[in-house]
Symmetry: C2
């Protein structure tokens, strides 16, 4: 990826802007999937980008299960249906009626499902950087999810993360053993369009938090309000 085997090239201003365009236009896609096949070379690029996520102690704890079998997708979808009914009942009356109108997954419509998992025993019991924060391997696998999501967006492919699933149900649907942690079940495919804003923001479920309200200096909840950085954020 670089002309120099030791040192990487800088990114140009145009390359920087492309990265920001990707970050700001990444969406959680639920309802706009097209049936068009994702070519293997494209899927391979997305998976390879995910595999190049940071990982604690370079342990690379992830596996990828690519799901195309309609029978397997159906069992994931049924697990979602069960969990989603339970989820709706957890909201108060007003929120529940809104909740039920939301389209929250595209399991059957998306041509591909990808499950990213975490093998916590990979590379042995002692891992550089996990000695004091035991959750770092799980977090590494989440970084692989985010890399995949952004790489897919760069390919104009939509991704939706379905988390309304009991862990035991997703394990059963995909045959994942008890020593492996399911991190994310992702719906992946080309889309009719990407929304410019998050669907839950557009639906009025929650507003975007102003960054200045969650930005602190040197210590938790320390902010005078005169910090120059605040002039540059919403």
């Amino acid at each position: 990826m670089s002309a120099n085997p030791i040192q990487a090239d800088p990114l140009s201003r145009a390359e920087r802007d492309a990265v920001y365009k990707c970050i700001y236009n990444r969406r959680d896609v639920r309802g706009q999937f097209l049936p068009d096949a994702v070519p293997d070379e494209v899927l391979a690029r997305i998976l390879t980008a995910s595999h190049h996520a940071p990982s604690v102690g370079f342990m690379q704890p992830w596996d990828f299960i690519v799901v195309r079998d309609p029978v397997v997708k159906r069992s994931v979808w049924e697990a979602f249906q069960t969990a989603n009914r339970e989820a709706a009942d957890m909201f108060d009356d007003e929120r529940r009626s809104i909740y039920r109108t939301l389209k929250l997954e595209g399991i059957l419509e998306a041509p591909i499902g990808i499950c990213i998992t975490c093998d916590r025993k990979r590379s042995g019991p002692v891992v550089i950087g996990r000695t004091h924060q035991g959750e770092m391997d799980l977090y590494s696998a989440v970084c692989a999810v985010q890399n995949l999501w952004l790489a897919a967006r760069a390919e104009n492919i939509g991704v939706g993360w379905v988390s309304i699933l009991r862990h035991r149900d997703i394990r059963a649907a995909l045959g994942i053993p008890s020593n492996i942690w399911p991190i994310a079940y992702l719906c992946v495919g080309y889309v009719s369009h990407f929304f410019a804003r998050p669907e839950l923001e557009t639906a009025g479920w929650l507003p975007r938090v102003p960054l200045r309200e969650i930005l602190w200096f040197d210590r938790w909840h320390n902010r005078s309000g005169t910090e120059a950085l605040l002039d540059h954020v919403d």
Copy 2:
């Protein structure tokens, strides 16, 4: 970010390639920090990109603490020293001597530290998408870390994630209360150069896992070896 308020623009091939360049050249930086100040407008762009990470139920559970005070940095560094001594003792003799040669943080050299936290109560007790996977708010905050990391790389700014810290020590150093979860302490600054490959790979600590060895089809550990996708991955 888009000319259309509803639908986002596609990314071009050049924009796609820029995203991949960023992903493949992102490094965990420990030893190449320069003292050069990071301008506030650049820091604001990186933080805003982080704030546009995906979050479960759009809860945006993160806060950002920007650390510039040398006294605060020193206390984080002392917490690292304590944990790192303990960590070294966990490895067997051969690995321990290698471990001790590794430069694992740039807390004092990096002009900026950024701590990303997770407020698990933000937006109330019931969160869309967290009803069955309670860890999804933590994972959202990790996505914010990865967005920040990639945005920084796009700005040719290095980031190093320091996880060799006890949670209670990082809480004490930054005054983080017990109901807030520290997710990542990041060292941030311009660098003399970016390495082309991960330092732990170059040092021979662990090799890059071939992607084909961790890629499965429809179910865990299901792979015939004849799947066409395998022709496109290492």
